[in-house]
Every structure is written in C-alpha cells, then in structure tokens.
C-alpha cells in the first residue's frame, strides 16, 4: 500500500513512536487506578473491571494475532483506532471530569501521524474528530451523561487533533527524508569504494600479467645488449639493439595505458598539497640541463620573482612538465627550450616553448586525443606512444585546469596549461 513505509524506519522516529505509545498506556492505567483513590467515586468498580478486562483482552489479541499476522501499517492502524475507542470510553466514564482528560486523544493521534501515511493518519484524525462530534451531539441530546463539552470546545479539540496530525506527519516526513538521504549517501560511497577496489585489483592483475613477461625479455635483452652474456657479432648486436628498444617502447606503452586506465576509471586520486610550483620547475630545469645529451640544447626558465603557492599533486604535475619538455626535446630540432610561468588572481599558467618543426593548426584539437600522432611528428620520430599528451590532459583536467597548444609551422610550438590557484 505504501512503499515509503517499507523503507528502513529512522531510529529517532521509532523512539518517538514508542515514547508516545508508552505514555498513552501509562496515563490510561494511572487514571483507571488513580481515580479509585479520589474521594469522589468517579468510576464504579464494575466499570473499572470492564475497562481493565477490555485492555487486557485487546493487548492479548494484539500480541497474539495482530502482531504476528498483520503488516506494520495495519497494526498501527488498528492500534490507533483501539486507543481512540479506549480513551473515548474512559472519558465517557469519567463523566463531568472527562473534559480534563481530553488531551489523551492527542497521543494516539500523534503516534498514528508519526507512523502512518498522511491519508491514513488523516483517517485516524477523522475518526477521533467523529468521536468528539458524537460526544458533543449525544451530550446535547442528553443521551449521554453530559461532559459539559460545548460545540465551541468540540471544534477547538477537532482543530487541535488536525493540527497535531499535520505537525507529526511533517516531522515524520522530515525524519524519514533525512534518514533516506543519509542512507543513500552511504550506499553511494560504499559502491564507489567497492568499484575503486575492484578496479585496483583488476589493474594490479593486468599490469602484473603484462609486466612479468616484459620484464624477463627486458632483462635478458639488456644483458645481451650490454654483452654480459658474451660478445655478439655485428648483425646480432644490431638485432639486439632493435629488440632492446622495442621492449622499452612496449613497457612505456603498457605503463601509459595503465596510467590512463587508472585515471579514467577513477582508481587514480590526486594527492593535492600546497606546493611551490616555481621550485618544481627549477628542479626540472636543473635536472634536464645536467644530463649530457641535453647540455647542448639548454633549457631556460622564466618565472616571476613572486609566485604564490598553489594546491596541486606535485608528482603528477612534474610528470606533465617532463612530458612537455620531452616532446620539446624530441621535436625541437636541438634548439633552446623555454619554460615560462605566470600567475594572475585565478590561475597559474605554465608554458613550454620550442623552436622546432611546429604543428599544423588542424591538429591542435586532436593533439590531446589518445594515440594521435601528427604527420610532422611521424616524420621525425615514430617511437612515441601517442599517449603522453592525453595523459597530461587527463591530469590537468583532474586538477580543474586546461591544456592547449599554439604553434606556427617551421617556427615552433608552445604547450600551455593552467591550474586554478585554489
């Protein structure tokens, strides 16, 4: 009937329900026994026994049958009506003093409104209201011992009943909503963690399977190539160089594919820290200038004196800069390479410029796609994997930044990326 009720019930709501229920019963029992000690005999003995018998029979029936065979909603429904009938009878028996106990009606109504769907809670409220009207009517007709309940008081009480229903209903919906949102968020997080764990397991298995034979080939080919296993004749040596180079390329390709897979599936996370990016660039420049083969090229760094620290994953950004510099070294015709940086209020931009062959304009967009190899690039070198710039793009985009190229054919290219300062 109501799918919402089959959703897990918030503990808080359960506690409120139980509190209202227990309070109702305690008050009812106190009244039944309490009135006996008053000087005035409000309820005579016979009536008390009927009442207690009635309550006991109901409780027995409820826990033996209703509790066992009825759904939660129907159970609450039945119980609320029984509570109202009981309270109605009690108020009636209390005669003139009944009006003081009228507030008792509010308790089962509140309990119903907390637990039941709005329409059902409204039905309970209507039944309680009908009881009030019935009492006012019968009282005025002198068919019942008068409760001194005027039409005005009756209307006020019905108003209260409706108000309580709406208020409790509202509270219950709020609590359920809160609980649902919390559960959903938890489930989502759990699913994400599960996914990431599975992904990592898959990745480790794949890389292990691919890397193990490759590392054996790489190791033995290095030994042959380094003549650790004896001299090779010139032809064998030539073949060995090819095998060795190809293995290195294969390892690079597998490593890059694994990186991409990690980034794309979300198994890869940035470990951002407030970092002095200038220091990173200085380190890279010094490192590259130190290696022999780059000494002739030389890399210059052009950074403003004051550069605010920004929050980045230093290792990943270093990887991006290395990648861009590596490309510049490859395609820069052995001429000077310049790394520059600038910073405004919002972002920090790094650029790597070479005076190499340049890139045709129509290739700009495709440069950052996986496996794209420009024509001029293919003429110069066919050993790259075509994944470096794609990985750079993924890393920069993960940082919330952007990466782009500018180039003039024959004059050189500039690769830029900017990172948000915060």
């Amino acid at each position: 009937m109501d799918t919402k009720l089959s959703a897990p019930i918030p503990k808080k709501l359960f506690r409120y329900e139980k509190l209202v229920e227990v309070t109702t019963w305690i008050i009812v029992i106190l009244i039944i026994f309490g009135v006996r000690f008053l000087p005035q005999k409000l309820i005579d003995n016979g009536q008390v026994y009927y009442l207690i018998g009635g309550i006991a029979a109901f409780a027995l029936l409820y826990y033996l049958l209703v509790y066992k065979y009825f759904s939660r909603t129907n159970r609450l429904y039945l119980k609320s009506i029984a509570d109202i009938v009981l309270i109605g009878v009690l108020i009636h028996l209390l005669k003139d003093n009944g009006q003081y106990f009228f507030a008792l009606y509010f308790l089962p109504i509140a309990a119903a409104a907390l637990s039941l769907e709005f329409i059902n809670a409204l039905l309970i409220a209507t039944i309680a209201s009908l009881f009030v009207i019935f009492e006012v009517f019968l009282g005025s007709m002198d068919l019942l011992p008068r409760n001194n309940l005027s039409v005005y008081q009756g209307a006020l009480q019905i108003g209260m009943i409706l108000l309580i229903t709406v208020f409790c209903r509202f509270m219950a919906v709020q609590l359920r909503e809160e609980k649902r949102a919390r559960d959903e968020a938890l489930a989502k997080q759990k699913a994400l963690e599960e996914e990431s764990k599975k992904e990592k397991e898959f990745m480790s298995l794949t890389s292990h399977q691919l890397y193990t034979p490759l590392s054996i080939i790489r190791g033995f080919s290095a030994m042959l190539y380094e003549k650790k296993l004896g001299e090779l004749n010139p032809k064998q040596q030539e073949a060995m160089i090819e095998i060795h180079d190809s293995t290195k390329r294969m390892v690079a390709l597998v490593s890059e594919l694994l990186s991409i897979s990690r980034i794309e599936t979300g198994a890869f996370r940035l470990e951002k820290k407030v970092t002095d990016i200038k220091k990173i660039l200085e380190n890279i420049t010094n490192q590259i200038n130190k290696t022999k083969e780059n000494k002739t090229v030389g890399i210059s760094l052009d950074c403003p004196e004051e550069l605010a620290k920004i929050s980045i994953d230093a290792d990943k950004i270093r990887q991006v800069v290395y990648n861009l510099v590596d490309n510049a070294l490859k395609y820069g015709k052995g001429k000077q390479i310049k790394i520059a940086c600038k910073q405004d209020d919002l972002e920090t931009t790094i650029s790597v410029t070479d005076v190499g062959v340049g890139i045709p304009k129509e290739d700009f967009e495709k440069l950052f796609q996986p496996f794209f190899r420009g024509k001029t690039i293919l003429e110069l070198d066919n050993k790259g994997t075509g994944l470096g710039l794609y990985i750079a793009r993924l890393i920069i985009e993960k940082h919330g930044g952007r990466i782009w190229a500018e180039s003039i054919i024959g004059k050189g290219s500039t690769f830029n990326f900017s990172l948000p300062n915060k």
Binding site: L214, I216, S255, R262
Partner: protein, 124 residues
Amino acid sequence: MKVLIIDDEKPIVKMYEEYLKTADIDVVSAFDGETGIGLAKAHQPDVILLDIIMPKLNGLDVLSKIKADPDIKNIPVFLLTNLPEECSGDKAEELGAAGYLVKAENEPKMVVDVIKKAIKENPN
C-alpha cells in the same frame, strides 16, 4: 656483497642472478617466502630483493616477518615486483621496505645501482 632474491618466477630469478653475478654480487635465491626467510637468517645478505605476488606467503607478509625477526630486521629489503606502486607502495613503506622497484620499468642495471647504493649507505 651478497643479495638474496625471493621470487617465485624462475626466469626472473635466473635473469637477476646472471646479471648480479656480472656486477660482482653474490646471489642466493628462494622461490617462496618461507625458504626466503630461512636463507636470510642463514646467509645474512646485505640486501634482500622481494617479489610481492607469490603463492602461499605473499611478499608483504614476508616483509613483515623479516621486520619482526631481530636477526634479520636490519637488512634493507627492496620490493622488486610488477605491481604498480599505487597498489602496494604505501603498504610496503609502512612495513619498512627500503624501496619499491617495478621490474619492467627498471633495467637490471638500475637495480644493481640501487643495491650498491643501499650497501654503501648501510655497511653492516
């Protein structure tokens, strides 16, 4: 200079054995963790190279056993594996590994450099 290699992959062990011998490093090897720990105690190598994915006892378990044994806990242990560092790097560092080397990404020459550097820094 003596190095212990613990790796279930026989061709890998053979390759490193050959390579390290040419660099004047004595090699002892074990194809499983239990044997590896026994050999470490018996031979007291200068450096241990340890694989991660192995049947029965995996490399990280072997590492924590080595670090818990007063006889051998001071020997620098390098994980030499084909698992990406993201998978087990943190765990290895936590357990006290001296380094993490991915086999396919490091040529044997680099592994030798790492071993020599570690022996220089840790002369016991």
